[in-house]
């Protein structure tokens, strides 16, 4: 067991956890932030557990909770500011970028960072940027539409893309 301190969505969590506890289980079960999902066998393929660690999109099933000690994490619950959605969230709603919504939090966390680094992506770049996120409902068509739309919003508004 080890006592760790992790800041998630601006809130400090100090918890004593087994060394072997996965970060995704810490986020979901200890902190109750169930927007982060698990869809593969903790193998880093599906991307549903994607969160941001110090601003970088990572798969939280591939880290232990103890490795996040002293770090800052953002989950899907931390994207919107109260009822103000980010441009990317708004675009997902406007373009029907989700159906069952299970993969969506991971995609939002990945694409938020993606658009920060590449505010004006081509469709091919968006598609390659999504390789780490599996979606089974949408066929990706509306997801690509939504990310493209959010990138334009970012460009016009001079914002950071989400």
């Amino acid at each position: 067991m080890k006592t760790i301190q992790v800041t998630i969505n601006g809130e400090l969590y100090q918890e004593t956890v087994p060394i072997r506890m996965l970060l995704v289980d810490f986020i979901r079960e200890r902190c109750g932030l169930t927007g982060t999902h698990v869809a593969c066998t903790y193998e880093g393929v599906c991307g549903a557990c994607t969160v941001q660690l110090d601003g970088e999109a990572i798969k939280s099933c591939m880290l232990l909770a103890v490795q996040a000690d002293g770090h800052r994490i953002t989950t899907v619950e931390g994207l919107a500011n109260g009822s103000d959605l980010t441009p990317l969230q708004t675009a997902f709603k406007a373009h029907h970028g989700l159906q069952c919504g299970f993969c969506t939090p991971g995609i939002l966390m990945n694409m938020t960072e993606f658009l920060e680094k590449n505010p004006e992506p081509t469709d091919d770049e968006i598609r390659y940027g999504l390789i780490g996120n599996l979606c089974r409902c949408t066929g990706y068509v509306h997801i690509v539409d939504a990310v493209r739309a959010a990138s334009k919003v970012a460009k016009q508004g001079g914002q950071d893309g989400g």
Binding site: M21, V76, K93, H96, C100, L130, C135, G139, V141
Partner: protein, 801 residues
């Protein structure tokens, strides 16, 4: 009858953003894995390491001694304390072998992944540790893996108590007695003998499925007074409720099943009644504590979600002008153990064979199916239920006819597409309505085949190989009782309760259980349009057997066909009552049709000064039920049931273009274009999304996904690194177009859509690949289709060295 003209507020057909989305994009969805009850225990299954072995003993001593482990349940306990899974509510009315089985394996394991024991612990990590400590003493048996071998006389048996491995056998054409069938086969053979052209092949389709992103999960709780409460990832909670009651021997009124409002996809995988849920529910009752099982992806890919695996030996007879005459097909499906509640693995190939003739006018067919038990996971329903293999075969065969005739495959299709509906196919499937040729012609206008042929010629001059392929598909729009009762021992009708609120809001209660299709939005649009109120003022509850009317589930495109129609019918019954009271209050003699529900008001059309707000009249009837018309009572709530007189369908046609790299066999889909008859559309954005998802599932199935067993029956593809789903970078954009005909048998002219949609994809894709490679006379007859296969074919044809 079609009548949506009276909806002056046109929510019908609006691209309304989904009501579901806000919670899902902010992390507030509530899926099964997010549900926690006080004192909840965690369950995990120990599964078989072997495809076929006797269980000589199970030693749980060490596992049970691990601190944190509460109980371990094995097959013997399930056999002693629960009934088998062979209950009438779970068993079709079709003559098949239904091998006896329980929540856990007893005596023998029959596939790699067969559940042997369930560990229950306070912590899921501890449960996994304990699973490692369970020692199973196996006596290995040779696995039975090939259907052809399994069906041979004297083959070892998957199920010792059954006579052989032939689970199901049926001839779909030409009579009911062996003699009639033989005579019919002779007649069909005469057509083949006389035909100018006969093509045929053994069309092989691999095991693949539709694998939702959320695995299964069950959370069961027991109360001595209220009985069993089960949260279950299921498409059909009402069927599950009856099944839990029967298998666990609990009075049905003491069982409540709730499908979580948010389910992470289902696609048929969550339609069966699964044995794991029974063990979890049994444990909750035994321990008097909530027990939850969240399936791992590993066990999901091992034990469920596998469909399609089938060989169809097909021949088609045609004239030199490309007129299709007769089809002969011998299907053999590899069903695995055949042990999955409701479907038993064979219902899919059964229906898939019924759907084999597709949209073409055959003079005759000689079509039969055999289904074999093997030591593999039982086939599980997957979107395009059963007919992915037969559709691949028939669409490829049509192209083979065209090539032999020297005609465009598109022209051969148009010549043979059923020109007028209704129509009954050679297998007896009823096609109720629509205009197939309108859909086809719409596709061809947009496809611009002559332009493509010119581009193809000039590309070939540059050494580039591009091709164009077509396919089409008749799909079920809901599943009528006429089909559901024999096939699944269940009704097909839709049911909905609509409850109006004294504040002028509406609640809709439905017994189906969606998994991402947007029911909350679509149903709200229907209710809003019918009452002239806002979709935001409507709340939809699905999936809870404690409060919803009986529904057979979210299966077979029942939403746009049956559920939507039941909702509309219930709304109309309430409109009737509202206008009856309002006419009385206004002192006019008027029928429902003489009132308009618009912009939150109910208006008397003949004198529009006579009106009342919807909210006021609803509140008056619910809260102030005095001075009512004679015979009328207060309250505004009703449950309506909808059943069409005949089964209903929808129709689609696909075109795709591809480019093949001759050096490597690698290929790329350049364009995917469709034409759809989906009837009247409630929300075009949602319908587009359904089509996109279905088509990409079809492509992913055809190219990437494949469940592979090795020669010992070990499942080799039980994670997403080996069972590859298409990523965004693997697949093309999709262009959907519509050429719809309103369905005359639903109140809103809607059709149920999206379920069968993946099936047309593999044929169109392979037809395009064969077209691209037509100089080398390559025919693709086997899925999956991958660059290495194409390269081998090119090599065999001498195109590459």
């Amino acid at each position: 009858m079609v009548d949506n003209t009276r909806d002056s507020v046109s929510w019908l057909g609006a691209r309304l953003a989904r009501k579901e989305d806000l919670r899902l994009i902010t992390g507030q969805g509530k899926y099964i894995a997010d549900m926690v009850l006080p004192r909840m225990l965690h369950a995990i299954f120990v599964r078989s390491d072997y495809a076929h072995a006797l269980i000589k003993g199970i030693d749980i001593t060490e596992a049970l001694a691990l601190p944190g482990v509460v109980a371990i349940i094995t097959g013997d306990e399930m056999r002693t304390h629960c009934k088998s899974m062979r209950q009438p509510v779970l068993t079709p009315n079709l003559p098949a072998k239904y091998p006896l089985y329980y929540g856990l394996a007893v005596d023998k394991v029959k596939f790699h992944g067969d559940p042997i024991a369930m560990i229950i612990a306070r912590d899921k990590y501890v449960a996994e540790d304990a699973a490692e400590l369970v020692v199973v003493d196996y006596e290995e048996l040779p696995p039975i893996l090939e259907p052809a071998e399994a069906l041979k006389t004297g083959s070892p048996k998957v199920h010792e108590e059954e006579a052989d491995n032939l689970m199901f056998e049926m001839t779909f054409t030409g009579g009911t007695t062996p003699e009639e069938q033989q005579n019919h086969a002779v007649e069909v053979e005469k057509i083949f003998q006389a035909a100018e052209i006969v093509v045929g092949a053994e069309f092989r389709v691999h095991r693949t499925g539709t694998t939702p992103m959320e695995t299964r999960g069950v959370l069961a709780d027991w109360s001595n007074s209220d009985g069993l409460l089960v949260y279950n990832t299921t498409q059909r909670p009402h069927i599950d409720r009856l099944a839990f009651a029967d298998v666990l021997d609990i009075p049905a009124e003491k069982v409540r099943v709730i499908a979580p409002r948010d389910m992470g996809g289902a696609f048929g995988l969550k339609a069966p009644f699964y044995r794991e849920g029974v063990v979890v529910a049994y444990a909750a009752r035994k321990l008097g504590r909530p027990v939850r099982w969240i399936e791992s992806r590993y066990e999901s890919l091992m034990s469920i979600g596998q469909e399609r695996g089938q060989v169809n030996t097909m021949e088609v007879a045609a004239t030199r002008e490309g007129k299709l005459l007769a089809v002969r097909n011998r299907g053999v499906a590899d069903v695995g153990t055949g042990q999955i509640g409701v479907y038993w693995g064979f219902v899919m190939p059964f229906l898939g064979t019924v759907e084999l003739p597709n949209a073409y006018t055959w003079e005759a067919g000689d079509i039969s199916l055999k289904v074999a038990f093997t030591n593999k996971a039982c086939l599980t329903p997957s979107r395009a239920f059963g007919h992915f293999p037969t559709r691949f075969a028939i669409e490829r065969a049509v192209d083979m006819v065209a090539r032999r005739c020297g005609l465009e495959a598109a022209d051969v299709r148009r010549q043979n597409i059923i020109p007028k509906l209704p129509y009954t196919s050679v297998t007896g499937e009823y096609y109720d309505s629509g205009d197939f040729l309108k859909v086809w012609d719409n596709l061809m206008i947009q496809a611009d085949l002559p332009a493509f042929r010119r581009a193809q010629l000039s590309a070939r001059a540059d050494g580039r190989y591009i091709g164009i392929g077509f396919g089409c598909g008749v799909e079920l729009s809901g599943v009528a009782s006429e089909l559901m009762v024999p096939m699944e021992n269940q009704p097909g009708y839709g049911a909905a309760t609509v409850r109006l609120d004294p504040r002028g809001k509406a609640f809709v209660l439905g017994g189906d259980a969606p998994g991402g299709q947007g029911h909350e939005t679509t149903i709200s649009q229907i209710v809003a349009a019918t009452f002239g109120i806002n979709p935001e003022d409507i709340v939809i509850t699905t999936g809870d057997t404690g409060v919803t009317p009986f529904g057979s589930g979210t299966i077979g495109a029942r939403m746009g066909s049956y559920f939507a129609s039941a909702v509309r019918k219930a709304c109309d019954e309430l409109r009737e009552k509202i206008t009856h009271v309002l006419a009385h209050d206004l002192g006019v003699r008027a029928t429902m049709e003489e009132f308009a529900f618009t912009d939150g008001e109910v208006v008397y059309i003949r004198d529009t000064s006579k009106r009342k707000s919807f909210c006021e009249i609803v509140e008056r009837i619910i809260m102030f039920p005095i001075n009512l018309p004679e015979g009328e009572v207060g309250g505004l709530e009703t449950t309506a049931f909808f059943e069409a007189a005949k089964p209903m369908i929808c129709f689609n046609a696909d075109m795709c273009t591809v480019e093949v790299d001759l050096r490597t066999g690698d290929f790329k889909v350049l364009k995917w274009l469709t034409s759809e008859d989906v009837g009247n559309v409630i929300n075009p954005m949602i319908v587009d999304g359904q089509m996109h998802g279905a088509i990409i599932q079809g492509l992913s199935n055809a190219i990437f996904e494949e469940f592979i067993y090795n020669d010992q029956g070990q499942q080799m593809t039980a994670d997403f690194e080996h069972y590859k789903l298409a990523t965004a970078a693997d697949v093309p954009d999709i262009e959907i177009t519509y050429a719809s005909t309103p369905c005359p048998h639903t109140p809103l002219g809607t059709r149920g859509i999206g379920e069968g949609r993946p099936s047309a994809v593999s044929g169109a894709l392979c037809n395009a690949l064969c077209d691209a490679l037509s100089p080398f006379n390559i025919e693709i007859t086997e899925l999956p289709i991958r660059p290495n296969v194409i390269w081998q074919k090119l090599k065999a044809a001498g195109a590459v060295t």
